[in-house]
Each structure stands twice: as structure tokens, then as C-alpha cells.
């Protein structure tokens, strides 16, 4: 049972961290980014490839990955900010789908089918806590997810820059009228989201110590979206919780042989449940006449 929860938490940490990246972008720049997994993958795999090429220690590969992730994120953000500034949510989000395809295509071109492994940052260490063996990798993955939620929440709620970003997210035109730089902020938000997504993916990959090829991980976008949805695209803590719960749910399903193959399908009923709950009072398309 503990094992199931443990493996669920690792996967859940991945979902949560990626979901937090999506929530960040949605909360701050008003678009649901379907491209988040692509950004994470491009960043993470670049870091791993460069790290391997330079025979560098794991943490350097990690840093490089964060850097590339931030760059790719910034690029995507610039496209959204420049070309789709005033467009409605549906068109903006469709644009991120196109970006995702572009990103995945380039990525699979560069990294091909070669499965990669992320070298463990904690050398597969294991901690003994009162008789229970805790995998350091798991703690690291969880820790990063929690840290991200805490830091982002604190930054946005407490810092001046965070206030300005929130203002921009709520009323973009008015924000520009009081001097808040829209394009710069959008690009910044996407860059940060890109960096942290690459970071999370690296940590999780290193914790699971399994190798995977580029395209197979692209489907991570779905449970990440689910987690972000549970957070209402606003709350980092709820996204964290949602991701972890989803991960544990999947792990439980995996442990039952009859339904193991459908473990990943857990997100559909969860999504439907969350959406029905969220929309219980809604009737019309947004605007008033």
C-alpha cells in the first residue's frame, strides 16, 4: 500500500508541477497552454542531451534544461503576446495547440526515438525514517512541487511585480493604461513557467529512474491539464493537491490487474466531475448584451 502511494506521489508530483506551470500561465496571461508539456520536454531533453555531450554532472544538465525551457517558453509567450493579444480565450488556446504541435515536431526531430534517462541527482539515496524507507528521489520530486506552489503563491500574492501581473491578468487594457507592460510580462510569465516545467520534468524523470523517449511523454499534458483544472486555473495549492490525488488514483488503478491498462483513463471522469461542479450555475456565453 505504501509502495502504491509512493509511486503515485512521484507521478502525481509530475502532474502537479506541470499543472502548476499551466496554472501560472493561465492565471497571469489568460490562456490555457496546451503547449506546456512540449516546453517541458524540449527544455528537459535539451538539458539531458547537452549534459551527456559535455559529460557534465547532473545538476549542470538540470540547469541547462531550465535555461532552454525558459527560452522556449519565452518564445512561445512572445508569439501569444504579439499575435494574439486581444483575441478571445478559445483562439488563444487553439494557438497554444498549434505551438504544441510545432514544439513536439521539432523535438521529435532533434531527439528522435532515443530513450533517455535522467541521471539521478541524489544518487538513488534512501532515507530511513523510523523504520520506513523513503526514497530520496520521491522526496525531491514532492519537495520541488510543494516548493513551487509555495514560492509562486508567495511571489504573486506578496511582491509588487506579482500584484502588477495579477492586475494585468484581470483587466489587460486597464493595466496598460496605468503603465503595466503587457508584452514584457506575458513573455516573463511564460519563461518562468517554461523553466519550472523543465525543472519538474527532469526531477521526476530522475526520480523514477526509467528511461523514456520524447514523444511518449508528450501525453503528460493531459493529467497536467486535469490538475490545473482542479485548481481552477487560479490556485497553485489546489493544483498541487489535484495533481497528487490524480497520481495516487492512477497508482491504485495500476495495482488492480483488471483495470491496470486503463489507469491513465482516470483523468476523464475526474475532469467531467470537476467541470460539472464548476459549471453548475452557468448558462450563457460570457458577455452580457
Amino acid at each position: 500500500m505504501i509502495d502504491i502511494i509512493a509511486s503515485g506521489l512521484i507521478v502525481g508530483a509530475a502532474y502537479a508541477s506541470l499543472g502548476i506551470g499551466i496554472t501560472l500561465v493561465a492565471k497571469m496571461s489568460g490562456v490555457v497552454s496546451f503547449a506546456q508539456s512540449a516546453v517541458a520536454l524540449l527544455g528537459c531533453y535539451s538539458g539531458l542531451a547537452l549534459g551527456a555531450a559535455l559529460a557534465a554532472p547532473p545538476w549542470l544538465g538540470l540547469l541547462l534544461g531550465i535555461g532552454v525551457g525558459a527560452l522556449v517558453g519565452a518564445l512561445f509567450g512572445a508569439v501569444i503576446a504579439r499575435w494574439f493579444q486581444g483575441a478571445e480565450l478559445r483562439i488563444r488556446s487553439s494557438a497554444t495547440m498549434a505551438l504544441m504541435i510545432g514544439g513536439l515536431t521539432i523535438g521529435s526531430r532533434i531527439f528522435g526515438d532515443v530513450p533517455r534517462e535522467a541521471p539521478s541527482l541524489v544518487a538513488h539515496a534512501v532515507m530511513d525514517l523510523g523504520g520506513v524507507r523513503l526514497d530520496m528521489g520521491l522526496l525531491l520530486a514532492l519537495g520541488i512541487a510543494v516548493l513551487l506552489a509555495v514560492m509562486l503563491d508567495a511571489f504573486i500574492e506578496r511582491s509588487h511585480a506579482g500584484t502588477r501581473m495579477l492586475a494585468f491578468a484581470q483587466r489587460p487594457v486597464t493595466a496598460e493604461l496605468i503603465g503595466i507592460p503587457a508584452t514584457r510580462l506575458t513573455v516573463l510569465v511564460w519563461a518562468v513557467a517554461g523553466g519550472i516545467s523543465a525543472l519538474s520534468l527532469n526531477i521526476v524523470m530522475s526520480s523514477t529512474a526509467r528511461s523514456a523517449n520524447f514523444m511518449s511523454l508528450s501525453l503528460l499534458i493531459l493529467p497536467a491539464l486535469c490538475a490545473a483544472l482542479i485548481g481552477g486555473f487560479q490556485s497553485f495549492y489546489l493544483t498541487l493537491a489535484g495533481g497528487l490525488v490524480l497520481g495516487i488514483l492512477e497508482a491504485f488503478l495500476l495495482s488492480v490487474p483488471a483495470v491496470a491498462a486503463y489507469a491513465q483513463a482516470a483523468c476523464l471522469p475526474v475532469i467531467l466531475l470537476v467541470l460539472s461542479w464548476m459549471n453548475r450555475k452557468e448558462v450563457w456565453d460570457g458577455q452580457r448584451a
Binding site: 478559445r90 483562439i91 495547440m97 510545432g102 521539432i106 493531459l222 483523468c267 459549471n279 452580457r288
Partner: protein, 560 residues
Amino acid sequence: MVNVLKRRGLWGDAVLLLLGLSGLVVGSYQAFLLTSVVITALLCLSVGVTTERAGMVSLAQVAMAGVGAWVATWLLARQPELGPWPALVAATLVPSAMAVVLALPTLRVRGVNLAIVTLAFSLVVNLFLTRAGFPGAELGFAYERSGWLESDAHLLLLCALLGIAISRALVWMEQRPFGAAWFGIKFSERAVAAFGINVSQAKVSSFAVAAGIAGLAGGLMVLQLGVLSSRNFEPMASLGLFALAVLSHARFLSGALIAAVLTWFTPELLTAVGLAEWKDIGDLIFALGALHALHGRSKAAVPAKAGDLANAGQPLPLAPRLLEPGQPGELALQGLTVAYGATKAVDAVSLTIHRGSVTGLVGPNGAGKSSLVDAVSGFTRATGGVALDGVPIGSMSVSERARLGLRRTFQVGRAIPELTVGQYVRLASRGVPDAATLDSVLEWMGCPGADSSIASLDVGTRRLVEIAAALLSQPRVLLLDEPAAGMSAPESHRLGEIIQRIPRAFGCTVLLIEHDLALIRNVCSELVVLEFGQVIAKGPVEETLALPHVVDAYIGGVAA
């Protein structure tokens, strides 16, 4: 000949027919490739139905094709004696039924959230196909075509003919309220509901039709390839398909064909120019193309037009006896209140809009006029009573009230750009007027002909079309929400003349919200003045406007 093709939008069908027939002259490989093109075009069309028409971002199309393929394979494996035709029918109907079931819990889900749900659905289907495999797979079953269908060329021809049939069917549906409603939903659910159309039904039907088309495509894939696997139906492919559909305007068959040709021939082209290494870059090109198309979509502008409407200066001819005018209705409000939290936008309003009158509703900005109209037409919840000819309608939905004869226009124009004037009017009036009546009313109002596309009209003309559409549904009461906003003086004068004649020509009572007091003076027989959500005066126009507290409310007491 070319003109006929162009005029009736038959380009796509003609090309498809040519493609179908070409199978008879080209080699087997080419015929096979072209069949793939046609099937992909069908898939794109299917995306076009949900996304381009109904504006619902559905990423489930490939999954639906997978379901169709599975069903077809099941029938072909278990009951081979039935031949391919029942398999194709089942491949179309089963996904449609599934779509209806899937659509129901998602009726309130819109836009992005719908995309997430359908993507998740695609994943589930893919998981099922991976786990359960295709029927007969364990026995190594592979369907082999026999009889007439055996040749690749004939299969191609069948696919092409089916494609043409579907494309024509879609066009036919578009002409009827059934399909025109889909565009309405994309543009504005409120507008469609105000026509008395059931929004949920329209959404579900769009989903079901799209799923059916996708399912058929899946069934055809079985015929073409003989054996399929879950790899043919990956969730990510839905995204790719979506990008393609967006980039090529897959609402039209021609667009879908272009998208399909691009998919299949880009790798061939790249190989031919020696770039075989790079053939997977095709997806990248589509992604860029989709971005470009979306960008263009976000900037879709209404054509600007300086100056006046066509007939602005000319006097209005007498309204001919166009329709059998019914009895105009009477609207009674009793203690109507609309509250948003602590603020009361409409505060216990009681009044009667008299039968056959043109009553003006005026008041300073923020007085509650729009909230009142929203409450009466059902868009906003309110307490108190609303009765149409004595029948209480306060608990009815928007479309129910519309069907009872209460119509409204919107402050922000809601004429649907993707439709022609004729399609829009028929949608709004639920197919009521015949062509002759339609044309004469349009002409009388100074609207362009039924074939003009609304997208090409400027805002003032679109407003007129909206009003014409509402009138042609023969309402008993018509609520006009600032129809003259932004019009020049001659334009609003002409509009005023039209409005004045409405009760007698169309048997309809009018409630007119306007800021233009000159227009109100010319047109209305009675006036109601609102301020801070309350009625502060009502009665004949001139007297009411002369009341000192009314002048006060408007101008803030200059007279004081």
C-alpha cells in the same frame, strides 16, 4: 460552367469527383494514396463541423474514427456474410450515438474546457483500442475486399462519392435552421436562444453529426487497410488534425481537401526534391499555418463604412400588406426586480406596454434599461411578474419566450457573419417566410438581398437585418435595444420611420430603448423613464419629456 461551380460552391465536389474518377487511370499506389487523401478530408470535414461551424473545440474526432473503425471491424469479422455496407452504416451510427451520450454532460462546458474533455476522451478510446485491440486481431483477421470493391480504384471512387454526398448534406443542413444554428452557437449562444432555438439541441446535433462523419471515415479506413491498430488513432493525431482543419478552413469541402492533400503529399513532395530526411517537418509547417490562420481569425474585422445607408435620404414607401399581421401583444410587468448582490439594477418596476404601441424606454446611462430588457426576455433572473397577453412568462427560458412571440435585438449586434442574409433570417424566424415575402420585406427595409453574406455588411445594415429577421418571425412584442446607436442623423431618421410602421404592418408591439431623444420623439407614442432602476415617469412623449424631474434626471438639473 465555372460560374455555376463557383456560384453553387461546388468546387470541392467537382475536384473530389475528378479525384474519384482518376483512380481508374492512375496506378494502384496512387489510387491508394488518393483514398487516404479522401478519408483524411472526411476527417477534416468532421472537425470542421464542430470547430469551424459550431465553434466547439473538439479533439475527439480521431477517437470517433477509431470507434467507427472498431465497430466496422467487429461486424466484418463476426458477420462477414453481411458485406461491407452494414459495417459502414454501423461505423457511422455508433459514434454518433456515443457523441450524444458524451455531449450531454458537457453541454455547459465551453471552449477550452471542452477541448480538455475531448482530448481526455481520445486518450480513453486509445487506451481501449490498445488494450482490447481490434476484433479478430488475435486470429490475425484482416478484412479483404471482394467483388466490385476489390480494386483500389473502385474503393477510391466509393470514398469520393460518399465525400460528395456528405458535403452536399452539410450544405443542405446549413440552409435549414438545423445547420444554420451551429454557426449561431459559435457566434453567440444568446442570439440563437433569442430565436427560440434550443441551444443544447444544436450543440448535441453538431457533435453527433461530426462523430458520424468521423466514424464513417474510420469505417472506410478498415476497407482500405484491412487491418488497423491503436497506433492509427493516437490522441496527438487529433491535435494535428485540428491544426490542419483550422489552417484550411475545413468548413468547406475544398478546404478539407486542401488539408488532406497537404498531409499526404507534403512528404512525397519533400522526398521528390531530395529532402526525404525532412518529411516529418510537414507537421511543423501545418502548425505555423494554423498559427497564421488563427491570427487572421482574431483580427476579423467588420468592413468599415463611412456615411449613410443606401436609402437613407429617400422617403419610406408605404409598407405593403406583406404578412397577415397578427394581434400585437401586450406586455405587463409587475414588481419586476433584478438584483446583483446588493445593487438593484431594476427596482420593483410595474408598467404595461400597451397593445400596438411604440413605447420608448429612456433614462440616463446605468438606469437599468438593458437589465430590464434582459429580464423581460429571460436572459437575467428576476423576481416579480412578467406577463405576455396575460400569460405569465417569468419562469420560462429564453427560447420558450421567443417561441411565444417575444423577440429582442441586442445592443451589440448579433447578426451571424458566417451566414447569408437569407440563411440568418430563416434561422431567426425558424423557417417561416417564403422567398417572396422575405425578399419584399428586405427590400422595404432597405436591406441587401437574401444572398448577401452578412460578413460583408457594415454594422448599420447588420442591425437592419437583425430587425428584419425578428419581424419576419411575426412576434407579438419586439424589444429593440438601442438600434440606432452609432447611426448618423439621416440613418436614424429612416430607422425611425421603419419602426413607426411596425405595429400596423407586422401586428407587433414595440418597446424601444434609445438615447436619441429626437428619434424617440418622432417614433414613440408613449414613454417610460427609468432612473436608478425605478420608473420615474411614464405617459405621452412630449408631456413626459417636459416634466422637470425628467429633465433633471437626464441633464442633472440644469434647469435648477
